[in-house]
């Protein structure tokens, strides 16, 4: 029956509402493509069967996707009198259980994902039953928190294939009202006031486009809905069309009425068969109801919609190409002007908007432009649907007010990267967009802000990249995409982008020169400036933004032939070796151990890492984080194996012989003299390589023994003194000279610059950072590093029975465990949660086992003294979790409440810095943190003065400092000798290169540890490392990612 009046549609709305809120149970299964992909069809059948089996009556229907695609299949069940219950990841097996409980009246024992008590469809509101206890409301789920459902308001609730339900939530009433007032100008005014901008890309004001077409006297006019969504990672339009096709159709009809068009065309990409099916059905339903056709609602307005399926060409998303395609030609764009609003389809005025733009129209008409504009920002009003995909925990479609910070979308809603990895960037706008680095995550998501960052809103695809993504590779991917989708018409896009791709491929293969970066920039600017359509003009964006924000990665590829993320095949060997800061050949030593060639294994280890026994004890083991074995059971304990090998060589008494062998490797003397300042991990490492390269190296250190932080910072229960001493001795025996116990002044350093060909500053960073709270000056407040140093030098610091340690890093945990060993009761106070502590997880675990207590979400406010001025405790403010910060960690927010914690001693370990004053006095360039400025590739600061390690980077791990020092040593040698001579000191042994057919070794072996009782009695080493069999078993677990297919053949 055709609906012709407001009265008729009001009646129809009531009928529709009854379907949505029937007297009986209503079960709606989310059957969009995302649901179907997760087995929604089977779930639907499951409910059907279960209903039959239980002889239950219920209204079983389908619905679209509620947005949380990762939780599909979602099923919503409405039981009269109850709220709408939404179940996630429903399997066919679940259906019977759910229905049984409903039948038995045990609704409250159901475990839905969330509940909805009432829903605002903006064009109509539906109230459900009262809130049930113990079940989160929909917007209490982190994924939905902060979302505003305008466009997706019906998705996942109504049956998209039933026009009655759409009418039930207020659909088509805006259309009728617009038609009945027969005042298109008024509608246009509302749209103008709404501030709605095109949701497909550039964000052109919708009212203006419509206005221009309305003013154009040429007829006929056309309305085209661009549903050719092709951005990789963007699929919101698919969901909108599948889940609520009528909303788009209604928007188009209103558009036709306002602009004076009588023909509408939906151009839908062929990859979306379900959307096409739903659209076809919806169009014929709308026709039956009289919303399409001749003389709509008796107003004399005619409008028809036809559907055209794309044939697989991304460029057809560009409006002029789309028109060309509709006309039956290849999708070749043409120059603008003329714009389609002047001369579009068949040369006639044509209004092209995308799906989401049209979907916003009914609501604007319904609530009014001004009300609509209350959401979002001034220039970017309303909401935008984003598809949140990539390296993020919660994937799906998210509708947010424009202006929401990127951070919120990615961390609060997306939950950050899975597996605790670090997010690196977000790519918005598809191949036309750009990569935005974490440092810009505070930026709001709106048209202008994204453009300012070099990206675009595009259709709303949000692709998240983490540390495992190589940005050169990402740029390469998008360029490859754009190149293959280029229509080939204009030179800059066709030829230019192919050259961009060629250059990127060169960089990825390690064949790039630095000059290429300039060439890329120059070529990109011309492509942007002269390409014919949006695809070409924005094609370089991914490359340009990655060069802008991730230049370092490009430089690493080019200058070091190294891909940090371990993606570019030619530029890394294995994921583990790649993530190891000193790039040890891990599969190599594991294999050599299995071949019982332990000396050669050790040689392979030492040549990459001259402190293997030490580092094998204290490392974060970055290698484990990327081990592919994790997919099977658990990562290989690569670090434990190298510790085992290094220890075993010493235990077997093979070290001396080995030292001679390495010594004999030393290159012919260069006659160059090099002074290394600082005998910490960085200084020792640099000295080791510089010496082997034939230079005369002397290491200066203020302390009486070399070792730096390893000797004076890390307690013996982690790194026994004799282990370190043995390794220092090894380095010394290869020819490195030491001047210990000399506290150098700035003048001394100037003198060393005179006498040496090069001076390397490896002075580290272990000045303790001040807490900055009252009472810090009190006796009984000790800096963590100071405390550890005292212990290490054999002094016994005075601490009380109740010790508080403030901080969450390794220094804090080391201090806490040390204090425990001194017999105190120790509590660690940290301002965030345990998960967010930067200390090694195993250290925290061990500390807890040793009965160190932890207090989280507490920040120090004041160190309290009693009347006598003696320290009596610490007042801390209680924090609660706030929003995420740029690092992806939840920010602590003070609640305003404080508590006091009694204590005798407070150890502050909230971080370390370099000795700013000293460095400044040496006349070196420093950065804003006071660190020594050094070129990332030459490591030079002033002529002849180099720097590496924590002194440059600020506090980091020992192995990271060694990594820098290693590179610096080669850079210094190259600078002095004029050539890269590093290959002269390395030997690569042959070993079997075969991928194990079936992964062997079973689960991970457990490292032997000292009992907790024994531990706190003294400073005996806690971890005993792997035994010989354990080490070999662990080695067998390696999947040998280093073996390339070409190796085997």
């Amino acid at each position: 029956m055709k609906i012709k009046s407001i009265g008729q549609i009001k009646k129809a709305q009531l009928r529709g509402l009854e379907k949505l809120r029937p007297d009986n149970i209503r079960i709606a299964v989310g059957m969009s493509t995302c649901g179907a992909g997760m087995g929604a069809e089977e779930v639907f059948l499951g409910f059907e069967k279960a209903l039959k089996r239980l002889s239950m009556e219920a209204f079983l229907t389908r619905t679209g996707c509620f947005g949380y695609c990762a939780e599909e299949p979602l099923v919503n069940i409405l039981i009269p009198g109850f709220p709408l219950l939404v179940f996630s990841r429903v399997t066919p097996d679940d259906t019977l259980e759910i229905l049984k409980k409903i039948k038995k009246g045990q609704v409250t024992s159901l475990k839905p994902f969330f509940q909805v008590t009432g829903w605002d469809h903006h064009t109509g509101r539906i109230a459900y039953g009262k809130k049930l206890d113990g079940i989160p409301l929909w917007d209490e789920i982190p994924f939905f928190r902060g979302q505003v459902k305008n466009v997706m308001r019906n998705c996942g609730i109504i049956n998209p294939l039933d026009i009655e339900e759409y009418i039930g939530v207020g659909g088509y009433r805006p259309l009728l009202e617009v038609l009945k007032t027969s005042d298109p100008e008024e509608t246009l005014k509302q749209i103008k006031e709404s501030g709605l901008r095109g949701r497909g890309g550039a964000g052109f004001p919708v009212w203006l486009k419509w206005h221009l077409i309305r003013e154009n006297n040429d007829t006929p006019k056309y309305i085209i809905c661009n549903a050719d969504e092709g951005d990789p990672g963007a699929y919101m339009n698919r969901n909108e069309l599948e889940g609520d096709p009528h909303m788009v159709i209604e928007g188009m009809i209103i558009g036709g009425f306002v602009t004076g068009a009588s023909e509408g065309i939906i151009y839908c990409r062929a990859e979306y068969p379900l959307a096409v099916e739903h659209l076809n059905e919806a169009v014929s339903q709308a026709r039956r109801r009289g919303f399409l056709g001749k003389n709509i609602a008796g107003t004399g307005f005619d409008f028809e919609i036809s559907l055209i399926e794309g044939a697989g060409a991304f460029v057809c998303g560009a409006e002029t190409a789309l028109i060309s395609s509709v006309e039956g030609h290849p999708g070749w764009p043409s120059p603008r002007p003329p714009y389609p609003s002047e001369s579009g389809l068949y040369g006639k005025p044509t209004c092209i908007n995308n799906v989401e733009t049209f979907a916003n129209i009914p609501m604007i008409v319904s609530v009014g432009g001004r009300e609509f504009a209350k959401t979002g920002t001034g220039k970017s009003s309303g909401t935008k649907v984003f598809s949140l995909v990539g390296k993020v925990k919660n994937t799906g479609l998210v509708e947010l007010p424009l202006g929401t910070p990127i951070r919120k979308l990615i961390y609060d809603i997306g939950g950050g990267a899975p597996g605790g990895k670090k997010i690196k960037a977000v790519q918005t706008g598809g191949p036309s967009g750009g990569c935005i680095p974490v440092s810009e995550f505070n930026s709001p998501i709106d048209y202008e802000s994204l453009a300012a960052l070099g990206s675009i809103m595009g259709s709303g695809g949000v692709v998240i990249m983490d540390q495992d993504n190589c940005m050169v590779d990402v740029a390469n991917y998008f360029t490859e995409f754009t190149t293959s989708e280029s229509c080939g018409k204009c030179v800059p896009c066709r030829e230019g982008l192919s050259h961009v791709l060629d250059m990127l491929e060169k960089i990825k293969r390690g064949e790039g020169k630095m000059k290429l970066l300039d060439e890329l920039a120059q070529l990109n600017s011309v492509i942007c400036d002269t390409a014919l359509c949006g695809l070409g003009q924005t094609g370089p964006n991914p490359v340009m933004t990655t060069i802008k924000y991730f230049l370092r990665e490009y430089e690493e590829h080019i200058r070091e032939g190294f891909c940090d993320a371990g993606v570019c095949e030619e530029l890394f060997s294995t994921p583990c070796g790649n993530s190891c800061p000193v790039h040890m050949n891990i599969p190599g030593y594991l294999q050599l151990l299995l071949e019982e060639r332990i000396e050669e294994a050790f040689e392979l280890i030492v040549m990459d890492n001259p402190l293997p026994s030490s580092i094998g004890r204290i490392c974060h083991f970055h290698c484990k984080m990327r081990c592919r074995r994790e997919d099977i059971d658990a990562p290989v304990a690569q670090g434990e194996v190298h510790r085992y090998i290094a220890d075993a060589i010493a235990e077997k008494g093979l070290l001396k012989e080995f030292t001679e062998k390495i010594k004999s490797r030393r290159l012919k003397s260069t006659g160059k003299k090099i002074a290394v300042i600082g005998a910490g991990p960085a200084g020792l490492t640099a000295a080791f390589y510089l010496n082997l390269l034939g230079n005369r190296v002397r290491v200066y250190d203020a302390r009486e023994e070399p070792g730096g932080i390893l000797r004076w910072g890390i307690p013996a229960h982690r790194l026994p003194r004799e282990v370190l001493a043995r390794e220092v001795e090894f380095i010394a025996s290869t020819g490195v000279k030491f001047s210990a116990g000399r506290d150098l002044s700035a003048k001394d350093i100037a003198g060393l610059r005179e006498k040496n060909d090069a001076v390397l500053m490896a002075t580290g960073a272990y000045a303790s950072r001040a807490l900055g709270v009252p009472g810090e000056e009190l006796k009984g407040v000790i800096a963590g590093t100071r405390f550890l140093e005292d212990i290490a030098s054999g002094r016994k610091p005075e601490i009380g029975g109740k010790v508080l340690v403030i901080g969450g890093g390794n220094v804090a945990i080391d201090a806490a465990r040390t204090a425990r060993r001194l017999g105190s009761e120790v509590t660690v106070v940290y301002r965030r949660s345990r998960e967010q502590m930067p200390a090694n997880a195993s250290e925290i675990e061990d500390a807890a086992a040793e009965k160190v207590k932890f207090l989280f979400w507490r920040s120090p406010e004041e160190i309290l003294a009693d009347k006598k001025g003696l320290l009596k405790g610490l007042r801390v403010s209680l924090n609660e979790p706030g929003e995420y910060d740029l690092s992806g960690r939840i920010r602590p927010v003070a609640t305003g409440k404080s508590v006091e914690i009694p204590a005798d001693t407070v150890i502050s370990a909230i971080g370390e810095t370099v000795d700013r004053e000293f460095l400044a006095s040496c006349g070196l360039d420093t950065d804003k943190w006071g660190n020594i400025a050094a070129d990332p590739f030459t490591f030079e600061n002033k002529k002849g003065v180099y720097a590496a390690g924590d002194a440059v980077t600020g506090p980091g791990t020992a192995v990271e400092a060694m990594s820098q020092a290693k590179k610096a040593a080669f850079a210094i040698d190259a600078a002095l000798s004029g050539k890269d001579r590093r290959s002269g000191i390395f030997r690569k042994p042959d070993y079997e290169n075969r991928v194990p057919e079936k992964p062997r070794g079973g689960g991970p072996v457990k490292v032997r540890k000292l009992s907790t009782q024994a531990r706190v009695k003294g400073f005996e080493e806690v971890s005993k490392g792997l035994g010989p069999d354990q080490a070999r078993r662990e080695a067998r677990r390696c999947l040998r990612c280093d073996v390339r297919i070409s190796d085997g053949e």
């Binding site: 992909g37 990789p232 990672g233 699929y235 044939a311 395609s325 039956g328 999708g331």
Partner: protein, 151 residues
């Protein structure tokens, strides 16, 4: 249905204007999986345009194949999201299993293995279509198993 019948029927349905060219070609592909030379010439005659133009359109769009495809068509999503989640390994595994490279058809005509643009399963990548069925969250093992269902 003979190719001529198919074409004239399709032309009847859509119309014989230039704008109907792509829908007609789509009909042929749906029916015959690809556009033969004969079919393209017939379409050109039906719409009174030159075969070169039909060929131009057919080769522009990736869904209008001009080479015969296999009985089963595997389309693997080449989108970055799938790529980020290990699509390369999946491709390699399928290539190994079918002994063809991406973009090729097996000599026995059973399988074609093609890349495709985003199929909208970004939340569960890597994803692929075998004929009309979606397979998502693929690993090399599950992908090969999926392919084997059709052998």
């Amino acid at each position: 249905m003979s190719p001529e019948d198919l074409i004239s029927r399709s032309a009847e349905k859509h119309g014989r204007e230039r704008k109907n060219l792509i829908p007609i070609l789509q009909d042929i592909v749906r029916e015959n999986s690809y556009l033969s030379e004969e079919a393209m010439v017939s379409v050109a005659r039906e719409l009174d345009i030159s075969p070169a133009e039909v060929y131009g359109v057919a080769t522009f769009y990736s869904f209008l194949d001009t080479k015969p495809l296999g009985k089963n068509i595997i389309r693997i999503c080449k989108t970055i999201i799938c790529y980020m989640h290990g699509q390369d390994e999946v491709i390699r595994a399928i290539e190994d299993r079918l002994k063809i490279k991406l973009g090729e058809t097996t000599p026995d005509g059973e399988f074609s293995f093609l890349p495709t643009n985003c199929i909208g399963h970004c939340h569960k990548g890597p994803a692929m279509l075998i004929n009309d069925r979606v397979y998502s969250s693929l690993t090399p093992e599950t992908a090969v198993r999926a392919v084997e269902e059709y052998i």
